[in-house]
Symmetry: none
Subunit: 234 residues, 2 copies
DNA sequence: TAGACTAAGGCACTCAGTGCCATGCTACTA
DNA sequence: TAGTAGCATGGCACTGAGTGCCTTAGTCTA
């Protein structure tokens, strides 16, 4: 059992190495299997598709995320929990930064792999939405569906952005603090809207002459917005 | 040219009908081609993959979205423009609600198609982010990357939610008002944060102040001209 | 030692997707 | 009218992913 038990790891490693060397598309499953010292048929016992051998194990991670959310206390703020759940995904990468960077290198070059990973990411997002909906009393649920979609997508976007930035830099440090800072900011910005309704309406300026005082770097569209927001002249 | 010019439409229609009748996976390209009265080889001249025959033409739509954003005036608020761009995508579905509903029925049942569409959607999101980044002065860009990722994902999530809700209901009315209401709410909630700058707010862009004194009726483009003509700061 | 379970190998098959060449139709031109 | 360039299509053969089925070998247990 010692020699062959890690067929899965061998296959993953071979898939990444061969893809880095010759490109993912140009690498056949036969070659990967041969490099790992197993039969082609065995490859498909461990992976549903060629792509799965290069990408991290999102199936297992998604199961962890779901279990975490299922076990969560109703006393914790749902948004915070979603953030923690996203951290679980991040942990998967952080556990083996070297492999993560190698994977990223392959994925970056192959559209098919990028799309595969996007699809995987979207499954986490669905889990977030499901949890947020469930955390809301049934009577409120419909009024908050859009909020939950946006919140889940914001958390996912934050996760992806932090992760990619970190991987692109070669995974030089601990991602966790990076993510903690980013997610804190996003959640802070999102929470008021998620928990209630709308923000303020802008006040209204003067008459026939307009004075704009603004920093030099103010973008044009912002000036335009202010000007357009002024009431029409008589 | 009259008999065969619409091979593409015939193929799309056949692909959807056959997929609805027997399932997408169980339908082979040979069957679709035969039903459309063309050769199998012709199918792959019109579609890159079997999935493309069932899904709407995201390639063309993405091109429209990019063109729209490229042609956008810098006087419009970027967030509003992203919202308008998302509306272009929605229009593609709204143009032919019946087909959209039939497609949705197929997609809903086939995970592979769902993922294919998610990947397509993500390309719009990338275009949004690219535009938001470009709309920002280079010096600010890095401070706003996360904001832009979140904003783009929020717009995409809003679009997807409105679209899916509408399709699930059988496309009973005009989607546009539904989307307009949803996107207005989301953008209103997002705008203050998006403009607030990054973590650790620099709190220091002053120094270089611009004062514009102009009649109320001054056209925006003229203001823009003056602003752009101002000498760069040191 | 027998029997059960599990991981793996081997093989044949379907089907998506591609490359190559031939064919037929249209339009423009000498 | 013939020639020809261009383009959409057809036909064919080939690669490679993914699956079903049966066999083999190693391991665990009674």
């Amino acid at each position: 059992m010692s020699g062959r038990r890690d067929a899965r790891r061998e296959l993953m490693s071979a898939a990444i190495s061969l893809s880095l060397a010759h490109g993912f598309e140009a690498t056949t499953v036969d070659e990967i299997a041969a490099a790992a010292g197993v039969a082609r048929r065995t490859f498909f016992r461990h992976f549903r598709a060629k792509e799965d051998a290069v990408l991290p194990d999102h199936d297992a991670c998604l199961a962890r995320v779901r279990a975490f959310l299922d076990a969560a206390s109703p006393l914790d703020a749902p948004l915070q929990l979603i953030g923690r759940a996203a951290e679980l995904v991040l942990d998967m990468y952080a556990e083996d930064p070297e492999t993560a960077v190698r994977r990223y290198e392959v994925i970056r070059q192959v559209p098919a792999l990028r799309e595969w990973e996007i699809a995987a990411t979207s499954r986490y997002q669905r889990a977030f939405v499901t949890y947020l909906n469930a955390s809301r009393p049934a009577a409120d649920r419909d009024r908050f569906r859009l909020h939950h979609e946006v919140a889940a997508s914001a958390v996912a976007a934050t996760h992806n952005h932090v992760l990619r930035t970190w991987l692109r830099a070669g995974a030089p440090d601990d991602v966790r603090p990076r993510f903690a800072a980013a997610i804190a900011e996003v959640l802070t910005a999102l929470t008021p809207w998620l928990e209630s309704g709308s923000p303020a309406a802008p006040a209204t300026p003067p008459d026939d002459i307009m004075i704009i005082l603004a920093p030099r770097t103010t973008p044009l569209w912002k000036l335009a917005e202010h000007i357009n927001a002024a009431p029409p002249q008589p």
